[in-house]
Every structure is written in C-alpha cells, then in structure tokens.
Symmetry: C2
Subunit: 204 residues, 2 copies
DNA sequence: GTCTATAGCCAGATAGAC
DNA sequence: GTCTATCTGGCTATAGAC
C-alpha cells in the first residue's frame, strides 16, 4: 500500500503498523513489511517510534482505546439491563464488522503478555463491573429478571458477541459457510444474540 | 523441565514442544527453549522432526485430535438437545480446565493460517453440523424448543463454553478476580451455562 | 542416537550522508 | 526528515565427531 500524501508520516506509520500487527501479531510482524506498507523505509520507523516494542505498544493502546467506550456503555450508562443488552449487541457487532481483526488482536496479545492490561488500565477508564452487578441484583429483586449472577451474565454477553469473530475460521469450517455466508450469520446475530439473552434472563 | 527417562525421546520432544508452542505460538516459540524443556539439544529436534514447521504441525494435529471427540459428541450422538447441552457444557469445561492453553492455541494458529483447517479435516472426522441442525428443527416442530436457528444455537454453545478460557486475561481484569476466583467462576459455569441456554430455548 | 560447533540467513537497530 | 548501507545478534538448520 503506497503512502497517501495527505497524512503525515507518523500517522501513516501507525496505520501501516496497525494492519501488520493486527494480522501477524507482535512476533510474526516484520518491521520491513510495516515500512513497505507505509511507503517508507525501516530507518523511519525507528526515527519515529524508537523500537518495534514501542511501535507495537502504540498500536495496542490505540486499539484498546477504540474498544473501551463500547464496553463502558454497557457497564456504566443509565438504561435497563434489557436495553443495554439490545444496544450493546447491535452496536458492538456493527463495530466489529468494521474492525474485524481487533478482538482477536487484543485477546491474543493479552494472552502473550497478561501484565499488559495493567499498563493500559492506569491511563484509561477503569474496567469495573461493580455497577453492572449491582444493577442486575436490583432488577432481580424487582422481579424484572430471573435469579441471575451479574458476573456470569457479563461473561455470557461478552462471549456471545465477541467469540464468533475470534473463532471465525472454526465457525466457517463447521457451518461450511463462505465469507458471504459468514457475514450473513453475523448480521443475523445483531438481533438474535439479544433475543437469546433476554429470553434466558427475563422474568415472564 | 528435565527429561523423565521412562518416556522415549520422541514423546519427550512432543510434550516439550506442546508446552512451548501452546504458550508462545508458532512465531514466538524458540527451538532452543523446546530443546531445553525436553532436556536434550537442538540437533535432536531436527533429527526427529526435520524442521520447526513439521514439529509444529505434529503438535497442532495432536491438539486438534484431542478436541475433536468432544465436539463430535454434541454433533452426532443420540441424546436430546437439552441433554447434549448439559453434557457438553459440563464435560467440555472439565476438559479445558485440564488443558487450559488448548482452545486459544487452536484459534490463534487457525487465524494465522486459516487453510490449516483444511489439511486437518482430510484425515479426521468431518466437522459437520447438519445433523445437529436437523435435530433442532425437529425439536422445534415437536414443541420441545422455541423457534431456534440451529447454526446460531451451535455458535452460542461454542461461544459460552470456549470464550472465557480464550479471553481469560480480559475476564480477570473486568471481574477483578485472581487465579483462584477465576477458577471458581469457571467451576460455576459447568452448570450455569447449560441453565442459561436451556432457559432461553426450551418451550415452557 | 546424541552431542558440539558452526554455517547461513534474517531481523532489529544504528551510523552517517544529504 | 529521509535515505542507503551496515552492524550485531539471534535463530533455524546442518556437518561431522563419537
């Protein structure tokens, strides 16, 4: 991919690095490939970002800060659990279809280096599900929801929304769908997943 | 880890390679580390497996063949959907607690090289959800289940069971649990997950 | 079968001209 | 700021002695 002249070099590098790191991972990525993709040479990467490690961290923090507001909404806004589930599912799946490598990139690199999440948490919003858990307990007591554990519900919501994108090659193999069929399945999930969750937890 | 003399060298190498590849991935793994872990030297790795690529493939196929029977059960045995969900959830989570790096390893390496699943499928049981989908349709028509799409249900079952292990560092960060707390959450899921699914799909 | 030593290559990083 | 050329180290793989 050639450099587009209307962006400055630093942004150009970050964009190229994002593409290479998110598809190849830290260990599989090559500085040469990033340089080629940015339309510059290796020396420039070091001029702007000093080392591969620091360039990687810039990409990672950037990716994480894209995801954080999505998650924050379900944890901390004012709507009911049912509304949160519906909005999050629809918004998140729409978002990931636009950034398909993002969840796998985050998960993979956190598994490679779990301490990384500590560094991130310092200078961004705290990841905290306490408020969400309190709200679940409240709605259970009010008879809106069946008896439900807040932390398990949170894990279930994450799992149902994120997993299919992370395990895309497996899903495609099992369902025998091509790229187009996979896309269709994911579009369906924008509403299917919230129905599935609400059906399970709502008091009828 | 020193070599235990009651195993032959080839098995010893495979065991060491499994540990290193499953934690570091293909790109992050080092032949030297595998040799050290097996208590031998690098030359022996090449003597038995010729190249890093072939050693990796041996490990991958081995891991996949451990997982296949687990999945086959839910796809092809004779029990009802409800029984399948309950048995699979309990058995699968028990299995993964014993092999915690396995799902992430499979998913990560399939994302790195999606064609890999084709090679595997040739000489193992076909991954096919057709029978499962037919059974779902049947139980829906019999009034046992609410209207449910078989392929989406299958994705949901996979997601709820596998995701927490793949995204372990994220889950720990959000729930603020340590290793022990995480283990407890997973133990709970052996029954919580099947309740969650059954609640959602069973006709009442 | 198992070892030591080393070939050969490739990647990250830097020096230095412009 | 941007380039070419090069250093340096680490990695896979092999040669060859025992």
């Amino acid at each position: 991919m050639a450099r587009t002249k209307d962006k400055n070099t630093e942004e150009q590098i970050l964009e190229a690095a994002k593409n290479v790191f998110q598809t190849k991972g830290m260990d599989g990525a090559r500085m040469q490939e990033i340089a080629d993709s940015a339309g510059i040479n290796k020396a420039m990467l070091h001029y702007y970002y000093r080392s591969k490690q620091l360039l990687f961290e810039a990409v990672f923090k950037n990716a994480f800060s894209l995801l954080a507001p999505q998650l924050n909404k379900i944890l901390n806004d004012a709507s009911s659990i049912e509304e949160k589930v519906r909005n999050f599912t629809s918004n998140y799946i729409t978002f990931i279809i636009k950034h398909p490598y993002l969840p796998n990139f985050i998960i993979q690199e956190l598994n490679r280096n779990p301490d990384f999440i500590l560094k991130i948490q310092e200078n961004s919003t705290l990841l905290n599900i306490e408020k969400f858990k309190t709200q679940v307990t409240l709605e259970v007591n009010q008879g809106i929801l069946k008896p439900t554990k807040g932390d398990q519900l949170f894990i279930n919501i994450m799992a149902l929304n994120i997993f299919p994108f992370v395990a895309k090659p497996l899903i495609k193999a099992f369902t025998k769908e091509d790229e187009k069929g996979f896309k269709t399945l994911m579009e369906q999930r924008k509403t299917e997943v919230s129905e599935f969750i609400i059906n399970s937890i709502k008091q009828h």
